[in-house]
Amino acid sequence: MTEPLVLIEHLVKSYRRGDQVVEVLRDISLSIPAGAFTALMGPSGSGKSTLLNLIAGIDKPDSGVLRIAGLDIAGMGETELAGWRAANVGFIFQFYNLMPVLTAFENVELPLLLTPLSRRERRERVALTLEMVNLADRMDHTPNELSGGQQQRVAIARAIVSDPTLIVADEPTGDLDRQSAAEILALLQQLNQQLGKTIIMVTHDAQAAAQARNVVHLEKGELLADEPQRA
């Protein structure tokens, strides 16, 4: 039997706030297969963003197993982890996190600077990716010249331009109006179904979660029962 893309066993994470130690995730065990579109749901403070950060390799667990594509990322050093993220993870943030001084094109090009691609290859790939997210005509615009939905599409283009295995999205529709949110979710579905990207999305919007193929509920740092996977 092949190992799932994300394998989590007895994962524990706590933070220190002053003298107090707050346990954010308690004994989490979870597996997400390659090609899944999983929504992590739960109320504020349930630990869903922390879990996403751990899976994305930008935070480290206190204990437990955390393997992505068979790799123990919890045991990696900072430099190794940065290289792993650059090659394997695409990030989509609630507030887009684009570089405000760069154009849409330059923002999408950013992750490719960490690859051995030539300038020409980079430009070709960026143009293709911006076309995929339907923003070819906005490539020279800076973020403040774009709407929220367009900025999030640039962020999605940036997340997929280096062809990562895993896309992590933290409240990707949290700052958008209904229509833009629907467009972004449709785009994520397209990436999942047509390109086979594994997507893990944190949301507390039930409508957004409904677009995912399976939903994982967290409450007070503990995992509740999974909803059955949709086809």
């Binding site: 930008i58 940065a82 993220r85 570089m99």
Partner: protein, 385 residues
């Protein structure tokens, strides 16, 4: 290329803040350069001094003269290839504020020791033939409009009387650092007058200038000259021309030290201003640094971005400061006239300005770089929104 574009765009993000910081850098680097130029002007005489020229003066003090009869005995010291002499004249041209250096010299023997003074042969001949003749440096001629054939009336102070000198030549300097803000007249003319009016002061020399064969023999020959006149009524002190000039500078060393301190304080202040600008920028961009780190960028890229921006600002400000320094120094040199005979921005000053700008850029980038490279990704991402 991409990183450079990002650095430039980041630098121009807050145009007013960037402009004010650059303005501060321009003023600081300009002021630093100007103060260094003032110091250089102070030392210009000593810097321009030859290694093969010695100066022999009265051991007691420069204000006491030496007998004219010493000339032949100095000339006889082994290693000496030429001897001239000069007296500080200190006449007033029309108004005391028209100050410039005047020396009563021994004529050809003096000029031969200073090949840096470039005088056309016909003018040299005319000067040497005319006992009442004088030669003036180009800077002096330009300042007062002296031309060959003009009469310069000087009112004597050290040597009382009215002295009318005829300009027989205008000399240039072989180097830009050669002092051409000087007038030379014949010591014979002065001495002749003294013999009539104040015979006790006649045949008395201010300093002897001595040309020697090799610079490395300077100490031996100096000692030999001084030995020649030891236990006499007018014992001598012989030193290199450079040491002699530095002796003058040392009298005002406190001022030079003060100027030097101020010039470095200016740099320290602008470094603090620049550091504050960079710290503010870094604080505002912590979320961006966290995003870059999340995407996989390491400390090297963040350091290049911050250090690059800091150096870009400091070097751009320095470039402007250096560019405006040259015309301003030229203007100031003209305004100050003969007070600083040589007042020009040296290559060393420009190098110091560039180094100061580099130091400012580096120092200003330290704290923001440390902060950016150490930012916790999760904490940094939380600061956005």
């Amino acid at each position: 290329m991409y990183t450079l574009r990002l650095i430039v765009k980041n630098a121009l993000r807050h145009k007013l803040r960037t402009s004010l910081t650059i303005l501060g850098l321009v003023v600081a680097i300009f002021a630093f350069g100007l103060l260094q130029t003032v110091i250089d002007a102070w030392y210009a005489g000593a810097e321009g001094a030859s290694n093969t020229t010695l100066v022999t003066r009265n051991k007691t003090s420069l204000v006491f003269p030496l007998p004219l009869s010493y000339e032949a005995r100095i000339r006889a010291v082994p290693g000496v290839t030429g001897v001239g002499y000069a007296n500080w004249f200190q006449g007033t041209y029309k108004d005391p504020k028209n100050f410039f250096a005047q020396f009563a010299i021994s004529g050809a023997s003096y000029l031969d020791i200073y090949p840096d003074y470039l005088l056309p042969p016909d003018q040299r001949g005319a000067f040497l033939r005319d006992r009442k003749g004088a030669i003036v440096g180009r800077k002096l001629a330009d300042q007062f409009g002296f031309k060959v054939g003009d009469i310069i009336p000087l009112k004597g102070t050290i040597y009382p009387g009215d002295w009318e000198l005829v300009v027989r030549g205008i000399f240039d300097g072989s180097q830009s650092t050669t002092n051409t803000a000087t007038l030379f007249l014949h010591w014979d003319y002065v001495n002749e007058s003294l013999k009539k009016t104040m015979p006790r002061r006649a045949n008395q020399i201010g300093v002897y200038v001595v040309r020697i064969d090799e610079p490395e023999n300077a100490a031996t020959i100096s000692a030999a000259i001084d030995r020649e006149f030891s236990n006499s009524l007018a014992e001598t002190l012989t030193e290199t021309e450079k040491a002699f000039q530095l002796g003058f500078v040392s009298m005002s060393e406190a001022i030079v030290v003060a100027i030097r301190v101020v010039s470095f304080v200016v740099i320290v202040i602008i470094a603090a201003v620049m550091a504050n600008t960079m710290a503010m920028s870094a604080r505002e961009r912590l979320g961006e640094y966290a995003t870059l780190k999340a995407l996989g960028f390491g400390p090297g890229f963040l350091t290049a971005m911050i250090l690059g921006e800091s150096l870009l600002l400091s070097l751009f400000g320095a470039a402007l400061g250096i560019v405006i320094l040259f015309p301003f120094a030229a203007f100031l040199g003209t305004v100050m006239g003969t007070m600083f005979p040589v007042f020009e921005v040296t290559r060393l000053t420009v190098i110091q300005q560039i180094l100061a700008a580099l130091a400012v850029g580096l120092v200003a980038a330290i704290a923001p770089t440390l902060r950016a490279t150490r930012v916790n990704i999760v904490e940094g991402l939380r600061s956005i929104g």
